[in-house]
């Protein structure tokens, strides 16, 4: 069985990974079912075995498949496949969980960076940063409060109307100024809602909330976002933890 991969600029291993991911998502393969062996896949798609392995490692990192030495490569259980976490997860996470994501923009403004914000964004205190405050909605119900700070290039202004129409702030910033987070660090803890949180989230003062701080970094690892997020107690933050015991 020979299948040709398109000769576009997309690397072959990603094309192959998409084919395999597609087969899994369409339900053609059951949880924990074995895939073809690496050598069989290599022959089927006329690529080298190393290229097949690259595709499988790509999918394994994303929680789609897993390999076991001497046994084979298998479809990851759906509980794992659904738990992979992305940057800009709100829109995607919500859709994946079957909800309709929404937002209510509270303010978009340019403010001088406080010492705390400046330190986190590695800029000088007093430098102008763009601050975006929003209420996040799922099925039109408030679930989270976002307060984000962005050190945008000079001359870039964010308009309320743009953000209202955009699918996501990340996509809008990517389009406007090449904003491209490569990774982020997040920090979670529990707290109690103050009166303002409570009002905006439609809960009571003193209700429990999940506080998540995020610093997003560009490809060059320059801080490009600091965002403080407060979620109601019914909101679940999900993540997948790989083994990674430092040396393995």
């Amino acid at each position: 069985m020979t299948k040709a991969l398109s000769p576009t600029s997309v690397p072959r291993y990603k094309q192959l990974a998409e084919i395999i991911r597609g087969a899994i998502e369409k339900g053609m393969l059951a949880d924990n079912q074995a895939l073809l062996s690496e050598r069989e896949l290599a022959e089927s798609y006329s690529v080298s075995r190393e290229t097949v392995r690259k595709a499988l490692r790509f999918l394994e990192e994303r929680g789609v498949v897993y390999s076991d030495h001497g046994r084979g490569t298998f479809v990851a259980p759906s509980i794992v496949r659904q738990m992979s976490r992305f940057i800009d997860s709100f829109t995607q996470d919500t859709e994946q969980r079957g909800g309709v994501p929404g937002q209510r923009i509270l303010a978009i403004e340019t403010v001088p960076a406080s010492m705390g914000i400046a330190g986190l964004l590695a800029i000088a205190p007093g430098e102008p940063v763009t601050r975006v405050r929003r209420v996040r909605l799922i099925d039109n119900v408030p679930v989270g409060l976002n307060d984000g700070y962005y050190p945008l290039p000079r001359g870039i202004k964010l308009e309320r109307s743009e953000l209202e129409e955009a699918q996501s702030l990340y996509k809008l910033l990517a389009h406007k100024c090449g904003f491209a987070p490569a990774e982020a660090v997040e920090n979670l803890q529990a707290a109690l809602a103050d009166s303002q949180d409570a009002e905006l989230l439609g809960i009571s003062q003193g209700d429990p909330i999940l506080v998540c701080e995020r610093i997003a970094l560009s490809e060059r690892r320059e801080p490009i976002e600091y965002c403080l997020m407060k979620y109601v107690a019914t909101y679940r933050y999900t993540t997948r933890v790989a083994k990674h015991s430092a040396t393995n």
Copy 2:
């Protein structure tokens, strides 16, 4: 400059990765400083370039370095290096943050699995599972409450004295019955402490707590742990999020 890698059974790419990680941890390389190029590293250590690349990808997954196409490979900023998350993180995380981890064992018992627990562990309701309840301490102060369920093999009994002496429950179980989590899924939300939580954690009823549920899976992706963890509000759960936008 030629350096020989030991010919032990440890793969060369892991040996090289450890050398690079060691140099970074010893402070021999600054944040965002460029490493030698892949070709230079290959020659220095007498390995092929693909082996160097494997070492660098290994470190990149762990947040130690990052590569930028056409520019080079660089030391990840320390904020990222400190944020990598592991399974069995409590002991390691605490030590890394400069605290002394501790535990107070509340109970070790064998109980029949409830329907909820049985579903999560993929066993039959009523099957015996080992339940371990502990208070987690940092510098002798309670910070978390763990309630873990383990479907241990028949004939394996966990003794209180064993766990008191062991460095960690995971290490003890690994030694006793080959317990080896390959990955885990975690689920976080905010809640309020009830009277029992409050007493065990040394806080007040109604104080905010961070509730974290974890299901750990073996290499074959069989559930081998369900653990419910409750942390005081000062405890911070940290994690690193890679880009992973599904197709990139």
